[in-house]
């Protein structure tokens, strides 16, 4: 029979019991610094996080089904990396507010490792959209959605961004923009079959109607949402813009069906004040 020391027995408690579901991420980070052996135990626990936000200056938010913790500390990088590198980590969302030096240190380390970060949705909330191109730490087999901001400054990079591996096979690309739709580079987005375009500034209903007619005529996309939360669409104007007799649907004034030539399929356009949906119906 093996006789264990009191210290060994204590370690056994941490090794055998799954304390991860009882401690939030803040406590786990403190616990992992208690000793080398406890660190390896804590690092083996499934982080079970759903969302991670990087704000700035080593300030992180970790969200799971049972907690929502904001952690800010100088020496967090090692602990955060141990979480982000965990092979069982499957994040619903990674939100990036800033790419400052502290984030760069983490991201460089993530890019260096072979194992990729499994995230379903990656959101870049600043104007540095081209950062997506160099985000090699993303597991592209898992990545379904990317959210970017397009400004006048990043306009020139948009072609590169949309042709990057990270954006090629997405289920949905969300683009936020404060630009005037009249100067927005719609043409570049013709290669995006699934797009959620959110304007947050001036409206240009005329331009939007023109763009929609164009993509419908050329049968380029699967589904697009276009919205403007600051200046909602003028619904009467939009209804007037899409008034071709054969596209109207009796009893549904906000819906239009545009047949796709040589097929029995059609585009459905739903005109709402807040959002216009254009969808290829098969």
């Amino acid at each position: 029979m093996v006789v264990l020391t009191e210290l060994e027995k204590k370690y056994l408690v941490f090794e055998h019991l799954n304390l991860s579901q009882y401690l939030d991420i803040k406590d786990r980070i403190s616990l992992r610094n208690v000793s080398k052996r406890i660190r390896s135990i804590v690092d083996s626990w499934d982080p079970k996080l759903t969302e991670v936000y990087y704000q700035q200056c080593n300030s992180w938010r970790f969200i799971s089904e049972s907690f929502n913790s904001v952690i800010k500390a100088e020496d967090l990088s090692a602990s955060v990396l141990s979480i982000l590198k965990h092979p069982k980590l499957r994040l619903e969302k990674l939100k990036l507010y800033r790419q400052d030096n502290q984030w760069e240190a983490v991201s460089t380390e993530l890019n260096r490792t072979d194992s990729k970060l499994s995230i379903r949705k990656f959101e870049i909330l600043n104007n540095n959209s081209k950062y997506i191109i160099t985000s090699n730490f993303l597991n592209l087999e898992v990545l379904e959605e990317v959210s970017l901001c397009i400004t006048n400054e990043t306009k020139t990079e948009i072609h590169k961004i949309l042709h990057s591996d990270q954006c090629k096979a997405l289920q949905m690309l969300t683009v936020n923009s404060y630009m005037n739709p009249n100067t927005f580079p719609f043409k570049c987005f013709n290669i995006c079959p699934r797009l959620n375009l959110q304007f947050h500034g001036v409206s240009a209903d005329n331009k939007i109607a023109y763009v929609i007619k164009n993509i419908v005529r050329r049968a380029l996309i699967e589904i697009w949402y276009i919205s403007n939360d600051v200046n909602p669409f003028n619904i009467t104007f939009m209804q007037q813009s899409f008034r071709r007799e054969d596209t109207l649907i009796k009893g549904y004034p906000n819906f239009r069906h545009y047949l796709i030539p040589e097929t029995e399929e059609y585009y459905e356009i739903e005109l709402e004040k807040e959002c216009i949906r254009v969808e290829w119906m098969r």
């Binding site: 029979m1 093996v2 009191e6 210290l7 027995k9 204590k10 056994l12 408690v13 055998h16 019991l17 799954n18 304390l19 579901q21 009882y22 401690l23 939030d24 406590d27 403190s30 616990l31 610094n33 208690v34 000793s35 406890i38």
Partner: protein, 203 residues
């Protein structure tokens, strides 16, 4: 007495690390998944050996099981605030050493309810504390203490090495003397004595 558990009246003999035996009811034992997997269907000849744990620990664990026999089936982790007065007393009267032993035994015996309460209790001890405070709670040696301990051990090892080297040297000298032929040995001793005599006469 041991037999396949068909009714809650059946008593089982449990053997502790000291070799002592004591009775536990079948109903209490059935809360242990380890027991269920090993003995429930086949029965046990003689006392059931849980000899990795001492009598006090096992009695404490089965005291909990006996108490919770009539409670509803376990349905996942419970918050500490939901514990009954009896549960709280049960935990409060244990010192840390006993608590650690009970956790390990409960974990080995796979008693879900007790193990989960223990987890919640440990978590409660750690929640909201920084690393240094956690070290104190768990009463683990700090990095500095470990370093000091290592230094002492290194010093001890160095001293032991020195002693061993000296012993080896002495052994080598003795060996050299033993290897010398008798004639030469006599001559060497004579030379030594002469040198000693000369040094005395010079004084």
């Amino acid at each position: 007495m041991t037999s396949p558990a068909s009714s809650s009246e059946v008593k089982y003999l449990i053997e502790s690390s000291e070799g002592n035996t004591f009775d536990v009811s079948g109903a209490a034992l059935r809360q242990s998944n380890t027991f269920n997997a090993m003995f429930l269907n086949i029965g046990a000849d003689g006392p059931i050996p849980f000899t990795d744990y001492n009598e006090a620990t096992l009695k404490k664990v089965f005291e909990y099981c006996e108490h919770s026999v009539n409670e509803e089936n376990y349905s996942g982790p419970k918050h500490q605030d939901d514990l009954s007065k009896w549960d709280l007393n049960f935990f409060n009267e244990m010192d840390q050493k006993m608590f650690i032993d009970v956790i390990n035994a409960s974990n080995f015996l796979d008693i879900e309810r007790l193990t989960s309460y223990c987890c919640e209790r440990i978590a409660r001890m750690l929640r909201g504390k920084n690393t240094q405070e956690m070290i104190k709670v768990i009463t683990l040696p700090t990095a500095e203490e470990l370093e000091a301990k290592q230094k002492v051990e290194e010093k001890k090892a160095a001293a032991a090495k020195k002693v061993a080297e000296k012993a080896a040297e002495t052994a080598e000298k003795t060996e050299t003397l033993e290897e010398l032929p008798v004639q030469q040995l006599v001559q060497t001793t004579r030379n030594k004595l002469t040198r000693k005599y000369l040094s005395f006469s010079n004084e």
